[in-house]
Amino acid sequence: MKKKKGILTIFQPEYALFWLILLAIIFFWIMQPAFVSFGNLMNVLKNASYMALMVLGLTWVIATNEMDCSFPDVAACASMVFAWLAFHGYSVLVSFIIAMLSGILCGVLTSILVVRFKYHSLITTIAVSTIAKSVAAALYGGMPLSVPVIKSTGFYKFVNSYLAGIPVIFIIAVAIYAVLFIIQEKTRYGQYVYALGENRVAVQEAGIKTGKVLTGVFITSAFFAALSGILMVFVVYGSGQPKMGSAFFLDGFTVVFLGAMVMKLGKTNVVGTFLGGIMLAIVVNGLTQLGASFATSQITKGVLLVIGIVIAALGQRKNRGKAGLLKYE
């Protein structure tokens, strides 16, 4: 692949997502001028931050060529566990820790089944997500559990506050993303994650404990799903939501695969996921302001996901070169 130089680099597919974001902003600006007001843009960032946090771990799972369908239900489970404990008079800190543990437990279960017993990750996570969903529903008979108690706590005021006009939760998300970006780019662990996605056998033969890397990846995914589930109780719902899962399933994958366009072409990565989250939040917010129906927004998200998949696939094919493609491939 010939590298373009100078100003032309901005037309490379690596920057496609920036163009998409710009196009989306301009489109919604024309359709609904109120869209670009400062308050609304901050609202977009707020929505983007918990969305992007939920799929942060999923990014690495997909980078290792595995699959995790359980993230939205793990988030639902953690939110319900948190709400149930807070409802029964436990302090916010204790509830928070136990809810995080319940999420991590799902990750541990997935990783044991996938790493130790060599289950197919798709089926495993379908099963684990059903378990998480059932537990979430069983806690309060399948109904959302409202927890007005948390509104008086300091943490509630903290995450819902604004720092110089910017929502604090967005700053938290940026900080977490910065840490994970450093891990992805500057540590061995981050390199192993991508190495696993390239060729599992080669990594194993090089003497790296692939099982440990994979375990870490699955637990990270569950950890951030649970964290985002609990944060959503504070920021969005004010209650535990056992049926959160179906709402975030498509969104999560769209965010991650939109991100695959950025930086490492065809590979899901932390920076891309963050930008993908912002892109999706813009689209969702803009469509809501235009009064779009469920069908329109669902189809738009689906089409965005297809764009992400196709560009990622094209990128990988380009890297492989023509010789790698036989007639039947």
Binding site: T130, A138, F249, V306
Partner: protein, 334 residues
């Protein structure tokens, strides 16, 4: 088409073992709930099981070619809503059902072409295509139930009409399973599917049209999922936009339960898997235990079933396998 003969001894034993397991589950429920095994309740159970069984049969084809289809349960929503919409326009039910199946064919074809022709990653592309179909299902009525003309058009008979004491939907299921058994286990076509699943390159160089086989598998999955959702709609007496959303887990469970016993994804295995998962879910419903506990149990059963299938596979591998078994083992590797 020439029928391929094979040695059935091993299969007969596994089927017998399945019946023992089946009886054990049924008797356990019978002890807790004495009305569980009456004729009425058994026919109702078959009626509810038929939809899952039909959708799982379609998914089996995709699993056999060692791909995954996450779109079938979402596209079935679209297909059945299309059918319900046609019914509400006073169109003859047979044409409406055909229209619904056609939609299943088209959505299955789209997934198949994306995976088979354009080589996009199967799981994530089918999630995307399925989500688009699910969104599109809201177009017909903006998410509301469609029940106009449902009771007068005769579509209800698809589920309710009884022949020899058993509902039509169960007969449809049985006929489909018999056809699928001969197609997949006893004919050359079935060998194409299994060889594609075992090794695409090898199959290609052996003269199998790999791409067409994969597309065909996705189309079968789409059509049968559409049929399952249509029958479910007929049973409920209304077009429900979320009709297929509960298909995902039971269908995968059915296939993996079958896989765990027969050591490969196959038609008979799926049939018994669907039967067992139906008995368990119905048992929980009869005992009026909330749905989430039965979901929890099914997830546990699924994990257990995969574990068993792996165990069988390992012991097979350690033997010096017969050529036939080896081919099956490679299917299981996917």
């Amino acid at each position: 088409m020439r029928i391929i003969r094979k040695d059935n001894k091993g299969e007969a034993i596994t089927i017998a073992a399945f019946f023992v397991l089946f009886a054990a589950v049924a008797i356990t429920f019978q002890i807790f709930e004495p009305t569980f095994l009456t004729w009425d309740s058994v026919t109702t159970m078959l009626k509810t099981g038929a939809t899952t069984a039909i959708a799982a049969l379609g998914l089996t084809f995709v699993i056999v070619v060692s791909h995954s289809d996450i779109s079938f349960y979402m596209t079935s929503c679209f297909s059945s809503m299309f059918m319900a919409w046609l019914i509400s326009l006073k169109i003859h039910p047979i044409i409406a059902v055909a229209g619904g199946l056609l939609m299943g064919f088209i959505w299955g074809g789209i997934s198949g072409i994306a995976v088979g022709k354009f080589k996009l990653p199967d799981i994530i592309s089918t999630i995307a295509i399925g989500s688009i179909a699910f969104g599109a299902a809201y177009v017909f009525s903006d998410g509301a139930f469609i029940y106009e003309e449902f009771h007068t058009s005769g579509i209800i008979n698809l589920s309710e009409h009884r022949f020899l004491g058993i509902t039509v939907s169960v007969w449809i299921m049985l006929v489909l399973y018999i056809i699928a058994y001969f197609a997949l286990d006893r004919s050359k076509i079935g060998r194409w599917f299994y060889s594609t699943g075992a090794n695409k390159r090898a199959a290609f160089f052996s003269g199998v049209r790999v791409n067409q086989v994969i597309i065909a598998a996705f189309i079968v999955s789409g059509v049968l999922a559409a049929l399952a959702a249509i029958i479910y709609d007929a049973a409920q007496g209304q077009g429900n936009v979320k009709i297929g959303m509960n298909f995902l887990m039971p269908c995968f469970s059915a296939i993996y339960i079958g896989w765990s016993v027969f050591k490969k994804p196959c038609v008979i295995g799926t049939f018994f898997g669907a039967l067992i998962s139906t008995v368990i879910t119905t048992g929980f419903t009869v005992m009026s235990i909330p749905y989430y506990y039965s979901d929890l149990t099914m997830a546990g059963v699924l994990i257990l079933a995969i574990g068993l299938s792996k165990m069988q596979f390992k012991s097979k591998e350690s033997d010096i396998a017969k050529p036939d078994d080896k081919a099956e083992g490679q299917v299981a590797q996917a």
